[in-house]
């Protein structure tokens, strides 16, 4: 319990205060008040990484953005690809509504990832980075309109849904290209994110094996980018005090 609570604090906070904090928690029983207080303390530490200089404050906000983007990529890639597989009946036990919900949540997470992970690339390829966000954002809007229209019985809007989906894949490819060319984050991950949609188009909806392979590449690529971003935080020197 104690260790689980301490894990909620940022890595660098734990490096500085973790041992003494753990010793403190072991010295007396923990009640609901303490748990709530620690949860709020962890939230404060996550949101309020403080620094003495502007440069350090910038570095910390940057790390926070990377971390949020990383977790969003880890969540969004598999959800988006899995949701697509379920909704399109590529997997046998598919349920369209569940798949659409997964795609919806996954797309929101991936939009967050596109913002959080684009800091490096935007310095070198600003236009590409903006396009990599704007196109999927429009795609997400298209998917939402198409999904609502379909639920209301307007089947004509299903085309907008798939158009949005394609826009989302296209934006991911642009992001992957910018990431690969910038030599930041995981290049194999970027390659997988780019290759996934291309394989999907090649499959053309008629080759299930190729479709599943493309979705797996897409999900694994985002996972690799997300893990790399989260781990970048751990590479930063521990500063005292935090």
């Amino acid at each position: 319990m104690t260790r689980l609570l301490i894990r909620l604090y940022p890595e660098r906070w734990r490096a500085r205060y973790g041992a003494e904090f753990e010793a403190l928690l072991e010295e007396r029983p923990i009640g609901p008040f303490d748990v709530a207080d620690i949860l709020l303390g962890a939230l404060d530490a996550q949101l309020h990484l403080r620094g003495r200089s502007g440069e350090r404050a910038y570095a910390r906000s940057f790390v926070m953005t990377l971390r949020i983007g990383g977790f969003a990529a880890i969540l969004g890639g598999p959800l988006f690809a899995g949701g697509f597989a379920v909704a399109s009946d590529t997997v046998a036990s598919g349920s369209q509504s569940a798949g659409a919900a997964m795609v919806g949540v996954g797309s929101l997470a991936l939009l967050t990832a596109l913002v959080g992970l684009s800091a490096f690339q935007a310095r070198v390829y600003p236009a590409l980075s903006w396009a990599a966000f704007a196109i999927p954002a429009l795609g997400a809007l298209g998917m939402a309109v198409g999904a609502v229209g379909t639920m209301l019985g307007t089947d004509a809007l299903i085309g907008i849904f798939f158009g949005g989906l394609m826009a989302f894949f296209l934006g991911s490819v642009l992001f992957a290209v910018a990431t690969f060319a910038s030599k930041v984050l995981s290049r194999p991950g970027a390659l997988l994110v780019a290759v996934g949609p291309v394989l999907g188009i090649a499959a053309g909806g008629s080759n299930d094996v190729l479709t599943i392979t493309s979705l797996a590449c897409f999900a694994l690529g985002w996972l690799a980018l997300g893990v790399h971003a989260v781990r970048t935080d751990r590479g930063l020197p521990v500063s005292q005090p935090i």
Binding site: E20, E22, L24, R28, D37, G41, R50
Partner: protein, 107 residues
């Protein structure tokens, strides 16, 4: 010139209680909690304690000492002592003013 009192937001009161606790000597986290709780009559959670300690340390009002086992004591710095004295004088002036006004209105 009066020392600048850092803005600690919602951790201002816990920070002041910690400074008062450390004013009679170095203490580690658990001792500070016990001291604050016995002095103020209110519990201070570990999350609040360390959020305030981190801010106080960052502002240079307290400093960590070498840990004993895993328990690390903290002590007031000269800046912290000056800051605490200023805060307490401000509170004292405020309390005196309030008491004076209350006394003037009493029948």
């Amino acid at each position: 010139m009066e020392p600048k009192i850092p803005a600690f937001g919602r951790f201002a009161e816990p920070a002041l209680l910690i400074l008062v606790s450390l004013s009679d000597g170095p203490k580690h986290g658990y001792a500070i909690m016990q001291d604050v709780e016995s002095g103020s009559g209110r519990p201070m959670g570990a999350g609040t304690l360390y959020a305030a300690l981190a801010r106080l340390e960052e502002e240079g009002l307290i400093e960590p000492l070498a840990p004993v086992d895993r328990r690390r004591p903290y002590r007031l710095t000269a800046l912290g002592a000056t800051n605490l004295a200023e805060q307490l004088r401000g509170l004292s002036r405020f309390a005196h003013k309030g008491l004076r006004q209350l006394g003037e209105r009493q029948p």
